[in-house]
């Protein structure tokens, strides 16, 4: 779990953990908008209640009685990294199609009922999970549960339904990726950073594979992955576990458990070569530089570094007082923005990313050299006790702010469970962060900042447009 505060680190490229909201795209802000503040180190974060249904569906309840409202989410433990090679985008395509009809509900009826009950809904797909959610007055929760349970197993797909939606998905890809030089470069970076792990493929998929996807491909994927034993129910807001349990049993508990599901993914082999990806694009007016080091997550690789790396990114590139911002932007006046990003909340290997955008007249190699000097300094001298104390205080404060909006808790816990963490892991985050030492941070930096484990990307203007 990581709590981000929106701070001055301009021109940050989308981190690898970015996800797609197939419907209207308004939700992405939710997760990133977390502001967090200083809590005593032993405080829990969300204090949820949990239980498991007989069919294996996990349930999480986060009570918050500010308004008579609930957020109802169902998370499936399947994302784009679970797709087979050659079928990129299928998890996301299916997510769009989940808003069509079922055996007993016409296409569009789901959204119509949500709206008529004053609810708001959306869904999103990531590398590791797919989630559907509605926020609605508490009295309508039961209706949402009935409909969400229905589409877990009863979705009806025909070519007439799929074809227009295929075009919608292709427009989404054009909007998010093809129209956006930085996103195009991002695809190439991922393809280079992961030699074998499926995070190398874009969540939204390649256009030619979206075009070629058949109804059978999608239906097979749905039947394989969508089952109660592969799903998590998260309800936050004006409700308790005691109140929810009978409803969860009534609507979700009656769905038969599916076959056991294994999330088998190819592993990442050793990396032996530093890679460089350079793109010139006619649309670019503000150049940028970034480097991604492959890094352990909470669940993959040398997981013992995951907490120290979070404090490291806070110190190195976490905002307007970070080392990178102070050095490159304030003191040396080389860049307009600089920072770093690391999030351990993924099932597979994640990345530690550092980025900078030069001021006019400064070249990308100049920026790169300045960043490299900061990396070298941390590897040689480590970080100071004072820096560690300040960073930890800020991060722990974040855990208090995270409680302010109840959707934050639902998002954080749902994502954590979907990648394979436990509720206790999330709740113990403040304690673990509080225990991180300067020595651990130095060791983590030495472990991660290995050039041959990295991709360096250059984005510049192409001044000679060609057809």
């Amino acid at each position: 779990m990581t709590f981000f505060r929106r701070r001055r680190a301009s021109f940050a490229p989308s981190p690898q953990t970015a996800r797609l909201c197939p419907r209207l795209g308004l939700l992405a802000a939710l997760v990133l908008a977390l502001a967090i503040i200083a809590a005593p180190a032993r405080a829990k974060v969300f204090s949820p209640e949990t239980f498991t249904l007989d069919n294996g569906m996990q349930v999480v309840v986060i009570s918050n009685h500010r308004a008579p409202v609930v957020t109802h989410m169902v998370w499936y433990k399947v994302g784009s990294a679970d797709e087979q090679s050659g079928y990129s985008g299928i998890a996301h395509f299916l997510e769009h199609l989940m808003f069509k009809g079922t055996k007993t509900r016409a296409p569009g009826e789901f959204s119509k009922i949500v709206a008529e009950n004053g609810g708001q809904e959306n869904a999103f797909t990531s590398y590791d999970y797919t989630a559907y959610h509605q926020t609605i007055a508490r009295e309508h929760l039961e209706t949402m549960m009935a409909m969400e349970a229905d589409r877990m197993t009863n979705l009806v797909l025909t070519d007439e339904i799929i074809e227009p939606e295929r075009q919608v998905v292709r427009e989404e890809r054009r909007m998010r990726t093809d129209n956006n030089p930085s996103a195009i470069l991002g695809e190439h970076v991922s393809e280079s950073l992961y030699r074998n792990y499926p995070y190398r493929r874009p969540i939204i998929g390649y256009d030619h594979e979206i075009v070629a996807m058949t109804r059978k491909n999608i239906t097979d994927f749905y039947k394989h992955w969508y089952a109660p034993n592969n799903a998590i129910l998260v309800v936050a807001g004006d409700i308790t576990a005691k109140e929810l349990k009978p409803l969860a049993e009534k609507y979700y508990g009656v769905i038969p458990r599916g076959p056991k599901i294994d999330r088998l993914r190819p592993a990442e082999p050793p990396q032996e070569a530093a890679r460089i990806v350079a793109m010139k694009h006619t649309q670019v007016r503000q150049p940028s530089w970034r480097r991604s080091y492959i890094a352990p997550s909470y669940l993959y690789g040398e997981t013992e570094h995951a907490d120290a790396l979070q404090v490291l990114t806070e110190i190195l590139g976490g905002g307007g007082t970070s080392r990178l911002y102070r050095k490159l932007v304030i003191d040396d006046k080389l860049a307009v923005g600089a920072g770093s990003h690391y999030s351990p909340d993924s099932r597979g290997p994640t990345q530690f990313m550092i980025y900078a955008s030069p001021r006019p007249g400064v070249t990308l190699p100049q920026v790169e050299a300045a960043v490299q000097a900061e990396i070298d300094k941390i590897e040689t001298d480590g970080v100071t006790a004072d820096e560690v104390a300040r960073a930890k205080k800020r991060m722990l404060a974040g855990a208090v702010f995270a409680r302010d909006s109840f959707t934050t808790g639902a998002q954080t816990l749902g994502a954590a469970l979907a990648v394979g963490q436990k509720v206790a892991d999330v709740e113990a985050w403040p304690e673990r962060i509080a225990a991180v030492t300067a020595d651990q941070i130095k060791a983590a930096a030495k472990f991660v900042f290995v050039k041959k484990h990295s991709v360096t990307a250059f984005l510049t203007e192409d001044k000679e447009p060609k057809e």
Binding site: F11, A115, I136, R174, T321, V400
Partner: protein, 440 residues
């Protein structure tokens, strides 16, 4: 500091706030010194969230100094009083205080959020930022460089380019037509005297509105208001700008950009917030292209034809004018078809209005979803300020759903006929659309 670069829509939604009356009690707090704030106590977490807004934003920037309000907003948290930029920022970060300023067309605002333990410190930093900003050379030049980089980045983005072009077309002779963040030329020339002049003229008590939500009582708040805002001048420099209609006429602006998907915006005259037709227009917009996955445009453009991922309309009332805006993104080859569908839906609504079933469903959504706006202290604080600025009354939360319920099918028919003229729409297309010709 530079905020997120998601500039997308040219105009911020006017907040149509309101809330579940049973859960939200608004208290009007007036300090001994006469400073008023609206407060919702919320002791769930040890957090205080405050929203401030002054009347008068980027649209008051003098000609040739476009982007002044925006540049000031980026610099007020970059050093004040005895604290230089680094110390000021370090103090904010060390104590997990959020303090950010922002500039819109008609408003200049600030957000403050802090844990209770650091509340007084946060208010003290806010006071210094408003009354004693330093504008030291280093942060001024650094932020200027960031703003210029932001403008360069915007020029890469089809939606930002389209938004600016639309406002320029609709308001050729009014500040509303000029970009709030300025241009490369104007931002390069802004001086520290300009920045200081803005603070002196704009940040006063008589144009300020305050909303606070969180773990604080009226007794604690009242003296804090005097301490924090008492040092501001009593009155802002007066200004007089006339109401202005958008130059609404049939036109198509095409801006060539070598991209695969064209960004389309369309607009016409809208409805002012205090116009009696506002609520009928609000309900009509919901049915035509407003929120959710159930509007007519969503169904016709996206669901049936797969023409776009994103298609929407919204009402954008400003202080002195109002526009009705919509947008969509579609492959270059399908722009002409998308425009035709939009025009057809415009005509259909203008001629036939809405069905009873549509109206009932829209009202159920708009009234039923009202409580969803009350889910974080920050959101509620913003609503408190919106209610004050739009003069909606402190009992607005109780009345708002009644305004929606009162809208009848004849109201919508009347407003649709008044607002929707398919042959008068301005279209802006950024991309390489096929089958679309520019028409001035």
């Amino acid at each position: 500091m530079i905020r997120a670069l998601a500039l997308s829509l040219l105009l911020a939604f006017t907040v149509l706030s309101a809330g579940p009356a049973q859960a939200t009690k608004i208290e009007k707090v007036v300090s001994p010194g006469g400073i008023e704030a609206w407060l919702v106590q919320d002791h769930l977490n040890p957090i205080v969230s405050m929203r401030l807004a002054w009347r008068g934003g980027g649209a008051l920037d003098p000609e040739g100094k476009d982007g002044l309000a925006n540049m000031v907003s980026s610099l007020l948290d970059e050093g004040a009083g005895d604290l230089d930029s680094k110390t000021f920022q370090q103090t904010l970060e060390d104590n997990s205080i959020t303090l950010r300023f922002d500039a819109g067309r008609d408003t200049f605002g600030a957000r403050v959020q802090a844990l209770t333990d650091y509340r007084d410190l946060a208010f003290n930093l806010l006071r210094q930022a408003m009354t004693k900003p330093r504008f030291d050379a280093e942060p001024v030049e650094r932020l200027r460089a960031q703003i210029l980089a932001g403008l360069r980045h915007e020029s890469e983005q089809a939606d930002a380019v389209a938004g600016k072009a639309l406002m320029a077309a609709l308001y050729p002779d009014d500040p509303y037509g000029r970009p709030t963040r300025g241009t490369v030329d104007t931002v390069a020339k802004l001086t520290v005297d300009d920045l200081r002049g803005f603070v002196k003229r704009r940040l006063a008590r008589d144009t300020l509105f305050i909303g606070i939500v969180g773990a604080i009582t009226p007794e604690e708040l009242a003296p804090l208001l005097d301490k924090t805002f008492g040092g501001l001048p009593a009155q802002a420099a007066p200004w007089k700008l006339p109401e202005v209609g958008p130059d609404a006429k049939a036109r198509t602006v095409v801006i060539d950009k070598p991209i695969r998907q064209s960004n389309i915006l369309f607009a016409d005259k809208g409805v002012m917030r205090h116009d009696p037709d506002f609520y009928p227009a609000y309900v009509m917009n919901h049915i035509l292209g407003g929120g959710g996955f159930t509007s007519r445009l969503y169904s016709e453009v996206r669901e049936k034809r797969g023409l776009a991922y994103s298609v929407y309309t919204y009402l954008s009332p400003m202080d002195r004018s109002a526009v009705y805006v919509g947008g969509a993104g579609t492959a270059n080859a399908r722009v002409a078809e998308t425009i035709k569908v939009v025009r057809d839906e415009w005509t259909k609504m203008a001629e036939n209005g809405v069905t009873d079933a549509e109206l009932t469903a829209a009202k159920k959504y708009l009234t039923g979803s009202f409580p969803l706006r009350f889910t974080s202290t920050e959101r509620i604080a913003s609503m408190l300020v919106g209610m004050q600025m739009d003069d909606l009354g402190i009992d607005y939360l109780d009345k708002r759903n009644g305004y929606i319920e009162a809208v009848g099918p004849d109201d919508i028919r009347r407003v649709a006929r008044k607002l929707l003229h398919a042959d008068r729409l301005t279209f802006v297309v950024v991309g390489q659309p096929e089958g679309v010709t520019a028409k001035p």
